[in-house]
Each structure stands twice: as structure tokens, then as C-alpha cells.
């Protein structure tokens, strides 16, 4: 059946069933208007503000701010952190999803809940727990410094804190997806003589690749953007232990607004790219991801 003609015109109900369950035009316009206004003020305006402020000193000042060595070192640390944390959590996510989706065992629901735990922990607390362990007065702190390991106020602490806050991302995308897909195909592969690893590689992975990518995308965005947890363990040593978000904070608190927003604009671009890829994935592979949505 063709689409109803008036669906091509703006401001019409998507539910084309009828007038019986629609709203009067005035109500409809009011709801749409409120939505657009609310999202415009809440989402688009802040984004616009970032770029407007970043470029308020002109294009030259913008690039000068980005060329600053401290900014560069913060970019490098951010990339390094993501490059460590994302693969670790991806490996965990795949392993946990495999165990949960393909087997029955006691305590499965508890395990799923525990995996989600970091989401309900304040990022500041996520940083704090590592201070309590590896800090100068922590349980393992003296031992670590005796062996020349710097964890807190150094890159390892930053990676640890980032792993904590991004812990559930990949797992929680994959678990419902793999549960929905069941185990038939894997068993079929096994009966055809495939070994465990090649079963995963040739059968499971192609089935979950888009969900996996989706999880990795979100995990990466959070890993690069994490602020609170990293802030606790970083020590804010310029040029050494500042990630990009921390660099933004320091510049902002130093009243170097153009520089702060310049670095922030890079992070906003990251958010843009993430959202774009995410929408693309949802658009192209929406059916596959359907099991994942609505969490």
C-alpha cells in the first residue's frame, strides 16, 4: 500500500490510522513546538555555544590554542587511555556475553546486575576506590611505590578509572543481542566439525558485529570524554597527566576561555562523529540492534 499522501506534508500524525485516535491540530502543534523548543534549547544551544566560544577569538586563536604543547599532550593521553580501556572492556564484554548468552548457570541475573553496577556509581567514587587501593596511603600504594610503579597521578590510574566507568558498555549491548540470537547456529557449526574458536570467529562474530561496533562506539566516546573519575586519579599535572576533558577544565579555570572551548570543540566533534555513526548503525542495521534498544 502506498503511503498516504498527506504523510509527505509536515506536521501530520505519523499514526495514520485515523482521526479517531489522533490529537487535534492545535494540540499536535503545541506538543511538536514544545519538543522542538525544549530540545533546541537543551541540546543544540550548548553545542552551538561550544563552537561559538571556541571561535570567538578568531580562527587563528583557535588553531593556536590547539597547537599548544599541553593541548597536544592531553590529546595523546586521551587517545592512549581509550586505546587501552576500550579493547580491555571489549574483550570482557564479548567473554561475559558469551558466558551469559550461551550457557545456563546459577547467579546469571546477579552477574548481569553486577556488570551494570559501574553505571550507578558516581565517577568520582570510581576514582576514589583506586586512590584507596593504590594511593600513597592505600593498601597497595606503599608496595607499588617500593617497586617503582606509579599508578595514581599517572597514566595507569587514568586507564584504571576509565575502565571502571566504561566497564558495562560493550557487555550490555552484546548480552541481549546474543541472548536473542540463541545457540542454534553455534551448535550447527559444532556438528559440522568447527572448533570453539572458529565457531566464534566464523559464526558468532559476524552475527554480533554491528552490536559490537555499537557498544565499542559508545564505550570509546565515554572513555575519551570521562572527566570525574579521571579527575580524581590524575593529579592534574600539565603536559603529563591531563586528558582532554581535564585540559578543558584547567584552561577554563584559568580564564583561557578560547583555549578551553577550542579543546572542548574537538571533544564535541568526537560526540558528533559518535552520534553520526550511531545513527548510521541504527539506520542500516536497526533490525539487528533491535534487541539492544530500549535499555
Amino acid at each position: 500500500m502506498d503511503e498516504p499522501a498527506d504523510m509527505q506534508t509536515p506536521f501530520v500524525p505519523l499514526v495514520q490510522t485515523n482521526a479517531a485516535i489522533g490529537e487535534p491540530r492545535a494540540v499536535r502543534l503545541l506538543l511538536i513546538g514544545t519538543t522542538v523548543l525544549f530540545l533546541g534549547v537543551f541540546l543544540l544551544l550548548p553545542l552551538a555555544a561550544v563552537f561559538a566560544q571556541a571561535l570567538s577569538g578568531g580562527v587563528r586563536a583557535y588553531f593556536a590554542a590547539l597547537a599548544d604543547p599541553d593541548a597536544w599532550s592531553s590529546i595523546k593521553l586521551t587517545l592512549l587511555t581509550a586505546a587501552m580501556a576500550v579493547p580491555l572492556n571489549t574483550a570482557f564484554g564479548v567473554a561475559a556475553a558469551w558466558a551469559i548468552a550461551k550457557f545456563r548457570f546459577r547467579g546469571k541475573e546477579l552477574l548481569i546486575t553486577l556488570i551494570d553496577l559501574p553505571f550507578s556509581v558516581s565517577p568520582v567514587i570510581a576514582g576514589l576506590v583506586y586512590i584507596l587501593i593504590f594511593g600513597a596511603r592505600g593498601w597497595l600504594g606503599p608496595w607499588a611505590s617500593a617497586h617503582g610503579l606509579r599508578i595514581i597521578f599517572a597514566a595507569p590510574g587514568i586507564v584504571l578509572a576509565t575502565v571502571f566507568v566504561t566497564f558495562p558498555f560493550v557487555a550490555r549491548q552484546l548480552i541481549p543481542l546474543m541472548q536473542a540470537q540463541g545457540t542454534d547456529e553455534e551448535y550447527a557449526a559444532l556438528t559440522l566439525g568447527a572448533r570453539g574458536w572458529s565457531t566464534f570467529w566464523h559464526v558468532t562474530l559476524p552475527n554480533i558485529r554491528w552490536g559490537l561496533l555499537y557498544g565499542v562506539l559508545l564505550c570509546n566516546a565515554r572513555a575519551m570524554g570521562e572527566f570525574g573519575a579521571v579527575s580524581v586519579v590524575s593529579g592534574h599535572i600539565r603536559g603529563q597527566t591531563n586528558t582532554m576533558p581535564l585540559q578543558v577544565e584547567i584552561l577554563y579555570n584559568d580564564y583561557q576561555f578560547v583555549a578551553a572551548f577550542a579543546v572542548a570543540s574537538l571533544l564535541a566533534l568526537l560526540a558528533f562523529v559518535t552520534l553520526g555513526l550511531k545513527s548510521l548503525l541504527e539506520w542500516r542495521h536497526g533490525n539487528e540492534l533491535a534487541a539492544v534498544r530500549g535499555h
Binding site: V121, F167, A221, A271
Partner: protein, 266 residues
């Protein structure tokens, strides 16, 4: 099926080392304070004010999101309008935008000399450097939870239920309140609870706009940070434990909610 002990073993080890043991360590530390020591820290007016702001602000933000999030989700699912696809993609911005960036951006807008702050200041309304700013930032951060939880539920809601109500003589308003709302209520509560939990622990987007005036606009995570910088580990630990315990109770509530949703098949 192979790989059970490998994957489960790895998962449990990784989970324990990185999440469970560190969190248990935190609770253990604060247990070391004893009940009186714990209470001594928490009963300080500044701590109480900070906890009240974090939880109260998150609750207010969650309530705002319950209303506007439902409205946004409804418009997305039920109507077609120019710019919808852009807005739909942008709803996840608070997930994707680093919190520090959100924080300074919101501050730039709502500061007394900002785009919206200036006109609002003329009307005598102050948002930045005020508890209202805290709620504002928490609303920003929680919005996607409500919209994203509601959208699929509204999409799957059978239009026939609404038609059935209409044929039985129910007015549109009654259909919305008696048929649609009960159907989406569990999802709405779940989304609101998620937004609330996120708001309680939120740090990055709040501290810039809050102004951080002790007893007035200082949130609990910031207080933990301040205690740490003062090397008052006991104080930091106690506040953190209090937050954790409340948050875990919330998590339990969310899980029960989701179990309820599954039972009702919505």
C-alpha cells in the same frame, strides 16, 4: 558448547578485580570508621546539604525529564515534523558529549552574561551559580534515559488499544490517561529511575554551572573531591559510602521495576 570456563572465569576475574574488590574496599574502609565515626562525618551540615542537593536535584531533574522526556518521545513516535531526524539523533548528545564540555557550554549559556543568562537575569532569574543550575545540568544529562526508554515502548504500543478505547466511547484524554499511560508507566518509571541515578552521581557537567558554594550549591561528588584534596580520606570515604548505599538501593529498585515490566509483558 565450548568456552564456558574460559569466558566465565575471565569475566568474573575481570569484574572482581576492577569493580567488585575496589568497591568492597571502599565499603570496608568506611566500616573501619565505626557507626559513630560514619555518622559524625555525615551529620555535618555541609555534608548533609551536599547529599540533599545531589539527591534532591537529581529527583527534580528526573521529574522534569519525566514530563518533557515523555513529550519528546511522544512527538518522535507519533508525529512527523521538519528536523525530527536531526533531533532524534541529537537526543543522545548528553551520552556522547563529554561532561566537562557540557558543563562549560551550559555555563556559557546560562551565566549572567550568557546567551540565555543575560535575558533571564533581566527578569531576575538566576540559573547559573545557583542550585537551579545543578538541576539544569542534571536534566541535560538525564534526558536521553527517559526518551530512549520510552520510544520503543511507544512504538510497540498497539494503536488498536487506543482505537478500542475510542469505539467504547472513551474521549482522547481518557484514552491517554487510562490506556496509554498505564501501558507505558513501567518504562517511564525505569527511564526516570535511570536518569535519577545518573543525576545523583553526576560531576563534570554540574561543577561548572553550580558555583560550588558550600551548603548551597555544592554537590556530594564535589565534596568527596574536596575531602580527598584535603587528604581527609575518612571523610571522602564516608560520603562516598553513603552515596553508594543509596545508589545500590536505587539499582535494586530499577531491577525490580524491570522485572515488573517483563512480567506485564510491556
Amino acid at each position: 558448547m565450548p568456552g564456558f570456563s574460559l569466558t566465565l572465569g575471565f569475566s568474573l576475574t575481570y569484574l572482581s578485580l576492577l569493580v567488585l574488590i575496589p568497591l568492597a574496599g571502599l565499603l570496608l574502609r568506611s566500616a573501619g570508621l565505626g557507626l559513630t565515626g560514619f555518622w559524625h562525618v555525615l551529620s555535618a551540615p555541609r555534608v548533609l546539604a551536599a547529599l540533599r542537593l545531589s539527591f534532591g536535584g537529581a529527583l527534580a531533574a528526573a521529574a522534569i525529564n519525566a514530563v518533557f522526556g515523555s513529550l519528546v518521545a511522544w512527538s518522535f513516535v507519533r508525529y512527523r515534523f521538519p528536523g525530527k531526524q536531526l533531533l532524534q539523533a541529537m537526543v543522545d548528545l548528553p551520552f556522547a558529549l563529554p561532561t566537562a564540555v557540557a558543563g562549560i557550554a551550559l555555563t556559557a549559556i546560562y551565566a549572567p552574561n550568557g546567551w540565555l543568562g543575560a535575558p533571564l537575569a533581566k527578569l531576575g532569574i538566576q540559573l547559573a551559580y545557583h542550585p537551579a543550575g545543578v538541576v539544569l545540568a542534571m536534566t541535560f544529562i538525564g534526558l536521553p534515559f527517559v526518551v530512549r526508554t520510552l520510544e520503543p515502548v511507544l512504538e510497540e504500543a498497539e494503536k488498536q488499544l487506543e482505537e478500542a478505547a475510542a469505539t467504547l466511547g472513551a474521549t482522547r484524554w481518557r484514552t491517554v490517561t487510562r490506556i496509554i499511560l498505564p501501558a507505558i508507566l513501567p518504562a517511564l518509571l525505569t527511564g526516570v529511575a535511570l536518569a535519577f541515578a545518573r543525576g545523583v552521581g553526576e560531576y563534570g557537567s554540574v561543577i561548572f554551572i553550580a558555583g560550588n558554594i558550600p551548603n548551597v550549591s555544592e554537590i556530594a561528588p564535589l565534596l568527596i573531591m574536596i575531602r580527598l584534596e584535603e587528604f581527609d580520606y575518612a571523610g571522602a570515604t564516608a560520603v562516598a559510602s553513603a552515596m553508594l548505599i543509596i545508589s545500590f538501593t536505587l539499582l535494586l529498585a530499577i531491577n525490580l521495576l524491570q522485572a515488573w515490566r517483563r512480567r506485564r509483558g510491556t
